[in-house]
Symmetry: C2
Subunit: 239 residues, 2 copies
């Protein structure tokens, strides 16, 4: 049994121009790994309708879960909700449940629920809302696509709301051995061990720090006994 | 005249599992923007031959430049060079020019140029080497695809080697106005201004810090006069 698969679409010109450094990908990657869901691909795209729709359609077909971040605010460049609706050929308009959430929030904060803010209540027919405990404006799930905010604090809160609704797999177990030798010296025996354990993923990540160099060899898999066996071979090879 | 376009492929299971936080995308995005080259899309993929080849083929066709990071070390999970060769149906083997670079480097450092390290001299026929002033093992360019290391210090050095070889466009000019109002209050007038300046890209990026909230409105384009005109309208609207 393999784990459920996932993909992410990071939406925003500001990431591609280098203005903003995305942190949502790294956050989601860690949470999914803990949940036993394999993140297989991430695409970063700009605020362009055609590109967003094409990415959603391509990835929703191939992966069990798709997650998007960005483009669901009140300004003219926030086009994600409309693109998701178009990708699934769903009708979209201001929806009463989302409008009620915004109305309650802005009544409390004393801001006006104007037409721009009402854009954040545009939710496709058939979608389920995702709670936003930080700033009220909800995300949503349509089919297998989870649409979330780009602001990291909001994105992370939405991910926390969504995670319990997902079907996870066997959580990934990961053990690391630090070897203070050049990767070129590690590579030969490591390749042999990787061949002997085809169900494990064995990666080598070089480091160079405080005048020392070497690699962290990370062994990942769902079966702890097998991981320990591979680790044992590693310890014999590099003792 | 629009600017040349670019795409990036970040390669590595360690990014998708959340073990490593990628920094190369943000670095490349900033350098390309300075050079007047528009980064249009980034894909993050795992160490899987089929996925890497498909991404390279899809993106090399559509964009002027493609950049990859990761997977060119000496270990069994470093498969990028072979995938690039396969994507272009090019022959690949240890090449004399790359071998000579490695031989000189390891003679100096006293390490053995063993078969694992020799893997780093596997370069497709027809490719041009990209200098690696940090740890010698070169990257390469094949057609419009630039293949670079994943280790950030090496990646950044290789980007510096490559940039002067690229044909840039008009450098992007970007001006920012900080507005201490909710995005929902900004959105209406901002949408009007964006409509009036269709050649400019106008983005709104909300912040919340030290009890203050609002948005940075960023106006980007190649024509400074036009940017200043839009900025003027913005100042009138939110004075």
């Amino acid at each position: 049994m393999s784990n459920p698969t996932a993909a992410m679409i990071v939406i925003g010109d500001e990431i591609l121009s280098g203005r903003t450094r995305d942190s949502n990908m790294h956050h989601l990657a860690g949470r999914l790994t803990e949940a036993g869901i394999d993140l297989k691909e991430v695409r970063v795209v700009g605020d362009e309708r055609g590109t967003i729709i094409a990415a959603v359609q391509a990835m929703a077909k191939v992966y069990d879960y798709v997650f998007t971040s960005g483009g669901i605010g009140p300004t003219h460049d926030d086009i994600t909700a409309d693109c998701i609706a178009a990708a699934f050929d769903a009708h979209i308009d201001v929806r009463d449940d989302a409008r009620a959430i915004l109305a309650a929030h802005y009544a409390k904060t004393g801001s006006e629920l104007n037409s721009a803010r009402l854009r954040m209540a545009r939710i496709p027919d058939g979608a389920e809302l995702i709670e936003n405990p930080v700033s009220a404006a909800p995300g949503f799930r349509l089919e297998n696509v989870h649409v979330m905010a780009g602001v990291p604090s909001v994105f992370e809160a939405m991910v926390a709301s969504v995670l319990p609704t997902l079907t996870g797999g066997a959580p990934l177990i990961s053990k690391t051995m630090r070897i203070e030798r050049g990767e070129g010296d590690i590579a030969g025996p490591l390749g042999e061990i990787a061949k002997a354990f085809p169900l494990l993923s064995i990666g080598s990540y070089p480091f160079q720090k405080d005048g020392k160099y070497g690699a962290h060899v990370v062994i990942r898999g769902n079966n702890e006994e097998e991981i320990d066996a591979a680790l044992g071979r590693l310890e014999v090879a590099f003792a």
